[in-house]
Amino acid sequence: MKLVYFSWVRERIGKESEEVDLPPEVTTVAELLAWLKTRGDEYAAALEHQDVIRVALDMEHVHHSEKLGTPYEIALFPPMTGG
């Protein structure tokens, strides 16, 4: 699974993207975020306030309750500040 990170999520994790093998028990967005937080201090810091993290599956916004399915790309980022 390809994960991509933006803004301060990217900075805190320390990489723009990575390939990960998800354990089979991780099936929802919320479970993905909880699992990522166990991968190291940098992930725990980036995802500390899990509720504010926005997630897109193949470039579509999804709620944290959403099933992951088999997307090509999962993006994690803070609330958007464009315009």
Partner: protein, 155 residues
């Protein structure tokens, strides 16, 4: 509600020319009674800000803007619509974002431009980092609750 309108959506590093973008919607047409433009600029925050660094999610940024623009086209009778958002380093006083709407009558053009801006701010994946003095690390702009509230008034 709009018929046969092909929107112009661009996400680019370069600046844009407002007059040229208006002309793109109006040239050769006699049926347009109103053009509204909104330009968002990089303000200096009382002299504390030198520049913004705008990060975006390539692909999703264009898709999200296009989705908001499509909703505007369904909702108002527009003859044309353009949305341009810049990324990269933008100095104070420079342009960041442009929305141009054209219609037979002004209300549709006003409302559609405001709608697109309100939703673009909360739906399109762009993030601003503020750069002040050269020796200080930049700081990410926090999302404004007011922007979320603005997008709710259209539902």
């Amino acid at each position: 509600m709009s018929e046969h309108v092909t929107p112009t959506i661009r996400v680019q590093r370069a600046d844009f020319d407002v007059a040229a973008e208006i002309a793109r919607l109006t040239d050769g047409r006699g049926d347009i009674g109103a053009v509204v433009t909104f330009t968002g600029l990089c303000r200096d925050e009382q002299g504390t800000l030198n520049a913004l660094e705008i990060e975006h999610y390539p692909g999703m940024a264009e898709r999200q803007i296009a989705s908001v623009v499509e909703q505007a086209l369904e909702r108002w009778p527009l003859t044309g619509i353009t949305a341009v958002h810049r990324f990269g380093r933008i100095e104070t006083g420079e342009n960041i974002v442009l929305v141009v709407t054209a219609s037979a009558h002004r209300q549709a053009a006003f409302d559609a431009a405001a709608f697109v801006m309100d939703f673009l701010k909360t739906k399109a994946p762009f993030w601003k980092k503020e750069h002040g003095r050269a020796d200080v690390e930049g700081k990410w702009v926090a999302a404004a609750r007011a922007d979320e509230e603005s997008s709710k008034k259209w539902t």
